[in-house]
Symmetry: C2
Subunit: 740 residues, 2 copies
């Protein structure tokens, strides 16, 4: 029970701590998540108001620390004493909850900062979402808080709940029990929805944080705190957008090393079409970059609220898997098939029952049982059949988890079958080392059975697919951890490079206000980072083109050079297979005339003459770089050629890359299998391709001015790689921060 | 209330009908779905036995016809009279329910057939699933039934329920209310699961049919009956496998013309890898053929039990859509974003609010409302806000449906918000012409609100995504109906053909026991159906190859001919770009030596010399034919070349094809966009490509002996198409039936 501090009381411990707290700046989140005293500013007694709901939540949750109420218009609320303002408080609250009108918040925060409060939750809305005036108010709040190290949650949030210490500093409609899952959300509505969903299931939480507009405390701060918090065993995020991506990724990565980190990222459709002038830019859609970033950080992404809820159930009631093999027990063929379909579609593995298990099952099941996995008990099996089978599977090392399914029948009560299953699991509701997942289908008879499972803390779902999704969540987490181990070592890419050469080229281009690098410069840049390119020369006119060809070895490719033409082949600006310098001259004359008539506004800078790559069995790949406005540079790999966007076979990764990460990136495309050798062609030089991706990642991090880079096609065969066409755009105004 | 017929009674109407019924053979399903009398054979009083549950179901469901009980070991059951056998019955039952041991069933069926019973539901298991003995028993049953036209449902099923006439001839655990949805299932467990799920939702059914092993009555029979049944407004199928595909498709097609027809087909993974010797065979996986067949029949396929349940909710509580535009109302930003993501990902359309609607909303909503769709009421909106907004949307012709979302808040009771929404909908729970979908998130506070919606017969779901899925089900149904209209007219493909030429070639090959047609024959077959091919000749040895080349125009392609080599390029059996006959001779010598050393067991039949197609801008396509063991011939189209399986860009369609259907099939691939002209290339000759697909469909139907056909690559450019390489396999033992 919390003690409400009275104006006439003598609790001065707050003042004692004031001097200490004033010296702390960044780490004040302990005041947020483990406060010894809380002040509610804007306490109210108006029914259904935010103030009264928050007060009731604070009082009824069992908080053991001091509670102060502040409101200038009341002396008593619900029979409790009320202080007129923060300055009148007899002690410094560690944490303040602010539910006043927006225009009062900055002054209150200044008072709190002055007295040494560590953190404030601003429930009040009406800041950022109200345009310039609101943004100015928010700046005032931050200006008042930051010098004193006062941390701000919100504004525009539901609040913070830490059940284990009885802290419900929120206006949520329910108080969850203590558990070991933290839920951090940018949407208050998602907090209340998830709490309402979790309540009857008995799913508890270690921390609930409604982050609101994230003016100060954000995902990164909270993740950093929770990483070291032993009461938190898993973290679930609802994400609408990330602000400080490097900090977010660093914190997420550290958190994911020790506990499952799961995110529902929404707003896939919100980005709309970006204006991209390179293949890579067009292909590296913002949402796909989120995928790549979350994967790199070791996070699991879920796609829907249903999946988030199912995974919450899984995290709450199962443990980490030792392996991926699932045994399925069912009393009806259909649900077993549905579960198998879902399992295989998600890349899961059906356990192969050991001969010993089959012999034991033979002894207790009807003769026509399936004698395989799924184990079909048949419809009229008595309830105890469930218990017998589950006990047998507990002893089978060939299965890592058990999914138990039930369809209601008139001959066996689903609740009895649930009880028999629970009894077979032992007192802790699990069968370590094997996890148990259950799905009792239906509602009328099934809902009571599901309640039994919840009471016994056994993971239970409404359909076979949901249960399989829960299991697959555990499988994905296991694989993600293995991948994290592999990528943890990327500190130095080990690449030999001539960074100064590249720097000089970029400086020269920027000084000349040239956005796209000249073709020779592109070749030089790529070569400086070890990417082989075809030999080429530039020329200003057809005669020069013939002259350039005479210094190279044919056959030749002739390409137009124009800062106004992005895709040369689209406008007839590429002619291939020219054999002699004379042919080059003739082709250049024709090309110049053609483009002058079809693209009269395009400035023609001249011609590029390249030695043609004679690599008949080479595959055309694309390797590129674009800069995401949230996550910064992103390396793209894929099946290349002029139709690269239509083929749609690409994958993304954040730099820095190691050869191992680059190969994992390549393996996420379909062309990967072609590269292994196909229809008689020998395998392509995988290491050389990976080297190109590592080099592009290094270019991105070494030279933030590179805004876009496309190598397309990058020819790859058994002998190695060759960049045939490449483009690099540099920019002065690129705001970039390397991902650490 | 049903009348139980007593042995001493005087109801002889059964006998009167006996003479009539004996003349009816195929159409006796009215005896199954609308019987005037029912006999339960194997009535029992053992608690929880199938016999007693079925008896209780029959008695309590309110059946108005006569009910006879049969069991030789009892004179009375539950106080009701019992006849020792069928022959002792005082009248002929229209319908018999058989729940005796399997070995007695055939005798009972013989008695029933003799007295003129129209249909029997065999609940008993232990037939097909028990191997040869069980199969023999099942044959005896059919032999007894068929001559008399007695129709059999099952064996191994739950039974049949027709709520509107109070008929519950099943051992299901609940009796659903009458409604207008029919559910047909091969799995009894799915029947009980769906009934249990539907019961608390108040979802009613017109017919529940557990088809079991489908020894006689199958999907096709039941669909044919239900198509003409006005009480049935929508049909939902749970399918594990189809037996008589032509009958199934014909019945499904007719049913889908008049009512939504939805199927959960499981067993995607059960087929395993087939041995396929052509690209088309490898790519036309059995489950994909189900997709094509269901689409062609106008059915909607769902992928999970959850989706099936959500669509049931949708069918029960919404009407057909006039258009695809959805307005979303929410009290929290997050759920609105989640719904929007799900909608756009599924190809749906957000309604654009009319200026009039925005003005009306401005008048009632807080100033910072979203002023767009989704309409965010903000978290502390009072409950009546929901009603006001829904009323305004009812009048907006720019939206075809409304999705209303709620997250629980402490300041507004979710149930009050639900009541306000329901009140705005009017007495019938809908706002015709606009459908309403609702999702109240959570459980503790949300479940009571969802119950209110169910009582008001308003479609309600647990998450935004589920609700969107329900809406999308309606959208897909609408589009499917438009497609059905388009494909209904395919009766004659209008193709000029020389069928006799092809028939002669096939006969010759079969007579010579040759499985793969000779290259010249392949060209002749394709040409006979209007598919252009490159000119080619065969030769037996290198000298003959040079001689053949001298009669063609170079450059030449040289290919090995061997019945033992399926993919020639894999073994170095293809050399391109040979310019002179001498080069052809040299290449043939080298090829023969190479293959003799690497493939010593391959029989070499000689060489194929082709004129090389010089179509530098042509795309490589694949067009082919394979024979599915369920659905028969299937036409495949896709992005071709040697890596066709890896590119994985194909689509399937069942013959016969029209040009319109062929184009729709092509449009389901990614290469379709390339064919429209890309990066400066002119559009390909779409009509010519469609013509190839129509021709392949015609070949399939005209010549059932064709087992596999591959045209790969089929070159396509603006000038037309050209088959460069093709293979045709013919077979004697092909069991094929044309899809009518």
């Amino acid at each position: 029970m919390n003690r409400v501090h009275r104006p006439d009381g003598n609790h001065h411990s707050g003042f004692t701590r004031l001097r200490y707290a004033a010296g702390v700046t960044h780490a004040n989140l302990d005041g947020l998540f483990n406060p010894r005293s809380v002040a509610l500013i804007g306490a109210s007694e108006r029914t259904h108001s935010v103030g009264v709901v928050t007060l009731d939540n604070l009082r009824s949750a069992g908080f053991g620390g001091e509670l102060f109420l502040v409101n200038p218009r009341h002396a008593l609320i619900e029979g409790l004493p009320v202080y007129p303002d923060v300055r009148s408080l007899p002690a410094t609250p560690d944490l303040a909850i602010i539910a006043t009108p927006a225009d009062q918040v900055a002054g209150i925060v200044a008072d709190l900062a002055a007295c040494g409060t560590k953190a404030a939750v601003i429930i009040t809305a009406g800041f950022g979402e109200l345009g310039a005036a609101g943004t100015a108010l928010q700046q005032q709040v931050l200006a008042a808080a930051k010098p004193a190290g006062l941390r701000i949650v919100g504004p525009n949030c539901i609040g913070v709940i830490v059940p284990a210490i009885g802290l419900n500093a929120s206006f949520a409609q329910v108080m969850p029990p203590a558990g070991d899952i933290a839920f951090l959300s940018q949407s208050g509505a998602m907090v209340t929805a998830v709490l309402d969903w979790a309540q009857p299931r008995g799913i508890g939480f270690s921390h609930i944080v409604s982050l609101g507009d994230m003016a100060d405390v954000d995902f990164a701060d909270t993740l950093a705190y929770l990483t070291g918090e032993p009461t938190c065993r898993a973290i679930v995020l609802y994400v609408e957008g990330i602000s400080n991506a490097p900090a977010f990724l660093a914190a997420a990565r550290r958190a994911a090393r020790t506990k499952p980190l799961l995110a529902l990222k929404v707003g896939r459709q919100a980005e709309g079409a970006r204006v991209a002038r390179s293949h890579t830019g067009a292909l590296a859609g913002s949402d796909l970059v989120y995928d790549a970033a979350f994967r790199r950080a070791g996070m699991l992404r879920v796609d829907s609220l249903s999946e988030l809820c199912d995974t919450l159930e899984t995290l709450a009631f199962t443990d980490s898997l030792a392996g991926d093999r699932l045994a399925i027990v069912t009393n009806g063929g259909g649900p077993g098939v549905v579960a198998t379909d879902a399992l295989i579609a998600a890349g899961g593995t059906l356990a192969e029952l050991s001969p010993g298990t089959i012999a034991k099952l033979d002894a207790i099941l009807p003769t026509c049982w399936s004698r395989g996995n799924p184990i079909d008990l048949l419809g009229d099996t008595p309830a105890r059949g469930y218990g017998d089978v589950v006990k047998i599977l507990r002893a089978d090392d060939a299965c890592d988890a058990v999914l138990v399914l039930n369809s209601p029948t008139a001959t066996t009560d689903p609740s009895e079958a649930a009880r028999a299953t629970i009894d077979a699991l032992g007192p802790n509701g699990r069968v370590l080392p094997r996890n148990v997942f259950t799905a009792w289908l239906g509602e009328e008879l099934a809902a009571p059975a599901r309640r039994l499972f919840r009471q016994a803390r056994v993971a239970t779902y409404e359909t076979p697919e949901d249960a399989v999704q829960g299991f697959i969540g555990r499988v994905r987490y296991r694989h993600q951890q293995l991948l994290l181990d592999a990528s943890a070592s990327v500190t130095d890419d080990g690449l030999a490079r001539e960074a100064a050469t590249v720097r000089a080229i970029i400086q020269r281009a920027l000084a000349a206000d040239r956005e796209w690098l000249e073709a020779e410069d592109v070749s030089t840049v790529l070569a400086a980072y070890g990417i082989p390119t075809v030999r080429s020369r530039t020329a200003e006119d057809p005669d020069g083109a013939a002259q350039a060809a005479s210094l190279l070895t044919g056959p030749f490719a002739l390409k137009i050079r124009s800062r106004d033409i992005t895709h040369k082949s689209d406008v007839g600006g590429v002619v291939l297979n020219l054999r002699e310098p004379d042919e080059v001259r003739a082709a250049a004359l024709a090309m110049r005339a053609r483009i002058a008539s079809t693209q009269p506004n395009a400035r023609i800078d001249g011609f590029l003459i390249q030695e043609m790559a004679v690599r008949p069995h080479a595959l055309e790949l694309i390797a590129g770089l674009s800069v995401d406005r949230v996550f910064g540079p992103v390396v793209l790999f894929g099946h290349g050629g002029t139709a690269v966007e239509l083929i749609g076979d690409t994958s993304l990764e954040l730099p820095p890359l190691s050869a191992e990460l680059a190969k994992a990136q390549m393996a996420r495309t379909r062309v990967w299998r072609l590269l292994q050798g196909y229809r008689g062609a020998p395998p392509a030089a995988i290491d050389a391709i990976a080297g190109v991706l590592v080099a592009i990642g290094a270019l991105a991090l070494d030279h933030p001015a590179i805004g876009e880079l496309d190598v397309n096609p990058l020819l790859a065969d058994a002998a190695g790689v060759l960049a045939v066409d490449a483009r690099i755009r540099v920019t002065n105004d690129q705001v970039r921060s390397a991902i650490l």
